[in-house]
Subunit: 701 residues, 2 copies
């Protein structure tokens, strides 16, 4: 056939890949043990034309893509390449001639294998780029769209997958399948499952953008190994999560370097940064693949209204499992509020004595009033979502009871436990009634935590008007070695409080500064080339007398000091570390931690991509494990979170406005009873600002 | 019938409860919705005589226990009481007259309900004690022994439970059932499942002791809510875990106070202490009920030889899931060692190029050589246990492949993923071949971590010869308010290094001490009644001159100091906190943490019950999240772990030898380049030692 162009809407998009009108398998085989045979078999169930190509022909196969295209009643939008790595680039070019719009390459043997593979990959990238064909792979087991029967995967079990509304977007083909099967084992169907593999063209970003427009998908399970384009990923997650929930699992908490690199062919990005920034972008971040499956399946069925702190309730038939759920809800930072007096009074009417009529509600073995009990809890204004846990019962069918309850618009998730047979029955009933159901206490707490987290992220998104670069945009930071005094002058310009101070060169200037500044002063060497001032004997603290000043100045001169800094000592308080730096993957970020070694040893740092909104920055320190330290811990100061947020904002703005700056860190930022003060600051820039910026600096000075 | 005594071996033991010759249900009913009806129905399948008693008779039921016993061909060893709380004590006495040896009470309405319940419980306790009947409950859903068909539970699903070798010992009846059902859903049978409930007679300790002798049981899943007798629990866990693995889940990480108390009628003990001490006693401690089930099921099938640091290998057909497993193994502190050159060479022969032939071994889709690949890894001396992960395959049946591999005596666990149907088939095959199998990457890593942890605990147990109280046994600590100097003198007696110091009352003594002690000194008020010396202006640091000494002494006198302490200042280093105290549940414990607020904010404290062995104490700091700080972090000192262990041992011995001491804490214990030194110590005793001890102290002084 001729004259059939790409469908316009496909150009650049993934329609040809996921919704082709026809498919061609190149390197097809009649041997099911070969890739080309497995693919042909897997695609046989597709209700669309599937053309098989093998250069040796035979078995009714075409000998070229062109021949197949000419013989096809529909355009062959998708090509599945089952040929060796060395042949892929050339075949892709043939495909372009035959008006193919998308291709899948499962094979390995490209850059990740080294040797000739590097050249094979270079040529493949070139072919993809020059032809405009959207390429999934190489090094993936493929993808599947169960609703259309499109199973472009060589894993035989995909025939069992059913259609549903959870999309799986996995870095790895193997994990794509593992996740889809885990969903299938819970009777949850899949809208699309994709393993990105090497991702030399189609990446998770492209698939997320495709899913934003995919009506079949109501939630996305995202698995991340490495990130190549951080800002694009964050933008895609932010876009999709505005309309459908994204649940993300990031691998690589621990050092799994060599194997990870062999698999992905790329350096793993920082696990902590990736998780923090995905969360900031709107993804519910989970810790393991079980939680990924549970959270995505639940969020595909139900989503809370955006709200900053939804309250959860538990109605349980058994106290012991209920304790596990409540313990895990607290661990997931979910509020389990008290029920109102009205609710308690109603529960008192509905339930026998000796049951626990607070939150959780421990009903004992469910009775005929169970739906009313759930309804009473749902009517409580403090409650946004309800978990209903119970063992399977022949007389009380929990999914049916929940479906019959008046939920007052509130969300509910059933947690069931029981023998396999009865749990399967419960699952089927729940599915048919549209009631979200999970199995076991842990899954129930995971589901509730995910619902609450998603609602909180949505609320933060609503509040997140990015104000753009502020005053700092006009401030240009010089690129040469900074003395402490210069760095602090810059902080002053940014509106960040610093101690009273004077740069001195003579003993007389030192005495004058001592007289002028209230209270004891610190006297420090001022030399950008001295990094560890204390270690070098360059810091004298608590100087209060003229005699002590003379002694300090003499001592500094004896270690070669020309200039020295006389500075008011700060009141006691809590030392924080704040900074802004350029993440190699995600770009400008700000971070906050508690000072001292704890930040590093416990890896307790909260991080946000900038620019962002002030409310987000205000909430940031709350992510620290040690956040209790900021709230008057043991008689210490209560840190002004908004003032702290403004410091972070200023640092972020500075970095965004000054591309030549690599990093600025205030360590420590002392939080004391009356506010914040920056006690030391380090600025790193790997290159000079350009001439114009330099001029601006001079003007500014 | 008459003259049939208790079987001698039952006296005190739980034979009558779990292996009765006959059963009597009191308060039996023909209505299956009533407890007495549900119990009668559940026990109907038992191949033993079950007598039904109802005071109103009818339906072939006896009207009294005595009548039932007289009419029974076998002794009715077990009575199941389905009567109201108020009637239980009297019925228990009737049971004793009828030679019943054990009883189960499911009902609530005792002390946990308050009001009359308190009196009902008091009378029940009295009856249990006076009759010697072993009583399970009240407030439990019962127990089951599937192998004998004994299902003394009102939960209908128990009919589905199959016989196996995992015993479940749960604080809660509901969780006992939830765990047993979770095992059933994984095709794993149960030897015994018990919910302890109120535990007024039979506790987890009794059941553990019973299980130590139970040949049907090869692993125990233990669920703990509260602990009444800590030492007895630890002793029972230590005893059982020597011969069969114990996996423990402790609920209550977060504050779930009121509901927990309503359920258990007791104050929850410290979650952290309970976990640490159970682990020390030999239990594999897990974080959630999914891990409890996976670990217990795996350890029921396979157990490693005791070894201090077993190496794990992973053979995976898919890289993505393999990365998740390896990441989690690192997170579980499991070593994934390199394979030997010999092993790698052998893998090179067996596997196609482009596979990853290190550890993990990423085979790509398994081929015919898969059993040999597993065998090659098993032959590697560095490997003690192998995880084999893969998606289900029609041609490669993973459990069968593993069963056919030459494992060289090494342990193996299969992790399977695939559609429900194929995974079920794999489970059945694995079960029939005796191959441990779990589903999914997370379960595989959980299983491997549990095997390694169990082997390490067994190794620690082997090395753990408790040396008993040492020198400290002879040291008696006085009970009145301690000055810092007195506390440090005691540390000297214990062989714990302290700074050079002198207690002074005059300025001249101060000057003499300054002259005698090397380097700068601290001058501090010495007054047991001043708790926060620094806050009161009672500490002057870095005194080096006679003038400064005079100033310091004058300043101390101005705040009322009579006695003051002149002390050498310690070299810089890392500040630790060590101590010994009496846990209200578990008795004497020692603890170690990193100093400063981190210990508290991050709850990062390692704890051990004492007396214990020096190797255990040497290993203790390794449990700290911040343990990297002790190993030359950022140029800091490397802490001598054995010296630290000796300090802990001395503190523990002191507490054990001095019953009137409540607590001794050294804070900080400074670790510097040349060793440890105690910079401050606090001793708390709530009462005086007795007269004799006081005399001993005087002699010692």
């Amino acid at each position: 056939m001729t004259d059939v162009g790409l469908r316009p809407r496909d150009r650049g998009g993934l329609g040809s890949l996921f919704e082709p009108r026809g498919v061609v398998v190149i390197g097809a085989s009649t041997d099911p043990d070969k890739l080309g045979g497995a693919m042909a078999a897997s695609l046989a169930g597709l209700g669309l034309p599937v053309a098989l190509v093998n250069s040796r022909g035979g078995g009714g196969m075409f000998t070229s893509v062109r021949e197949a295209a000419d013989g096809s009643p529909v355009p062959l939008d998708l090509a599945v390449l089952c040929v060796p790595a060395a042949a892929c680039a050339a075949v892709l070019e043939e495909c372009a001639d035959a008006r193919v719009g998308a291709a899948l390459i499962c094979a390995g043997g490209f850059a990740e294998a080294g040797g000739d593979g590097v050249e094979h990959e270079r040529r493949l990238r070139e072919a993809a780029s020059s032809t405009g064909i959207r390429l999934l792979g190489p090094n993936t087991s493929g993808f599947f769209v169960p609703a259309s029967g499109l199973r472009a995967s060589f894993v035989p079990g995909v025939a069992h997958l059913t259609a549903g509304s959870v999309a799986v977007v996995a870095a790895s083909g193997g994990l794509n399948h593992a996740l889809a099967f885990a969903l299938q084992r819970q009777d949850v169907g899949v809208s699309l499952g994709v393993g990105i593999g090497a991702g030399i063209d189609v990446t998770a970003v492209d698939v997320l953008e495709h899913l934003a427009e995919d009506d079949r998908t109501t939630a996305i399970a995202l698995h991340i190994e490495t990130v190549s384009d951080g800002p694009a990923l964050l933008a895609a997650v932010a876009k999709v999560s505005a309309t459908k929930p994204v649940v993300a699992l990031v691998v690589g908490e621990h050092d799994i370097g060599e194997f990870a690199r062999s698999h992905t062919g790329a350096l793993a990005t920082s696990w902590r940064s990736t998780r923090s920034l995905l969360r900031q972008a709107g993804a519910v971040v989970v810790d393991d693949e079980d939680a990924l499956v549970t959270a995505a399946a639940t969020l595909a069925a139900v989503r809370l209204e955006p709200q900053s702190d939804p309250g959860a309730a538990l109605v349980t038939g058994q106290a012991g499992p209920g304790l596990l759920v409540v313990d895990a809800l607290h661990g997931g930072d979910v509020r389990v509020p008290d029920l109102s007096d009205k609710t308690r009074a109603r529960l008192g009417e509905l339930l026998p004595p000796m049951t626990y009529q607070a939150n959780p509600v421990d009903t004992g073995r469910p009775g005929p009033a169970h739906a009313d009990v759930i309804g009473a809890v749902a009517a409580d204004a403090a409650i946004a979502v309800i978990g209903v846990y119970g063992l399977t019962e022949p007389v009380i069918d929990l999914p049916r009871v929940v479906a019959s309850a008046d939920l007052n618009g509130k969300a509910v998730v059933v947690g069931l436990d029981g023998p396999a047979e009865e749990v399967s029955d419960g699952r089927r009933t729940a599915r048919s009634l549209g009631v979200p159901l999970v199995v076991g206490p842990r899954a129930l707490s995971t589901a509730l935590v995910a619902l609450v987290e998603d609602a909180r992220l949505a609320s933060a998104r609503r509040d997140a008007t990015i104000a753009g670069a502020h005053g700092a945009a006009g401030i240009v930071a010089d690129g040469v070695g900074w003395t402490e005094a210069q760095a602090k002058d810059l902080l002053d310009d940014l509106g960040i409080p610093t101690p009273s101070r004077a740069v001195c060169t003579t003993s007389e200037e030192g005495q004058a500064a001592l007289a002028r500044i209230d209270g004891p002063v610190a006297v420090k060497i001022s030399d950008a080339s001295v990094a560890h001032k204390s270690d070098r004997g360059g810091v004298h603290l608590a100087v209060t007398t003229a005699h002590a000043m003379t002694t300090a100045v003499d001592a500094l001169r004896s270690i070669g000091a020309v200039e020295f800094l006389v500075e008011a000592m700060a009141p006691a308080g809590i030392d924080l570390v704040v900074g802004a730096r350029r993440d190699p993957v995600f770009g400008p970020v700000v971070l906050v931690g508690v000072g001292g070694v704890a930040t590093e040893v416990y890896a307790d740092v909260a991080i946000a991509s900038v620019p962002t909104s002030l409310p987000r920055l205000t909430a940031l320190p709350g992510q620290l494990a040690a956040h209790a330290l900021l709230d008057g811990f043991r008689g210490g100061p209560t840190v002004d979170r908004e003032a702290l947020a403004r410091v972070l904002e200023a640092l972020g703005d500075l970095l965004v406005a000054n591309p030549h700056l690599d990093e600025i860190e205030i360590n420590p930022l002392r939080a004391h009873a009356r506010g914040l003060v920056a006690l030391d600051a380090v600025i790193v820039s790997s290159h000079q600002p350009d001439e114009m910026a330099d001029e601006q600096r001079k003007t500014h000075e």
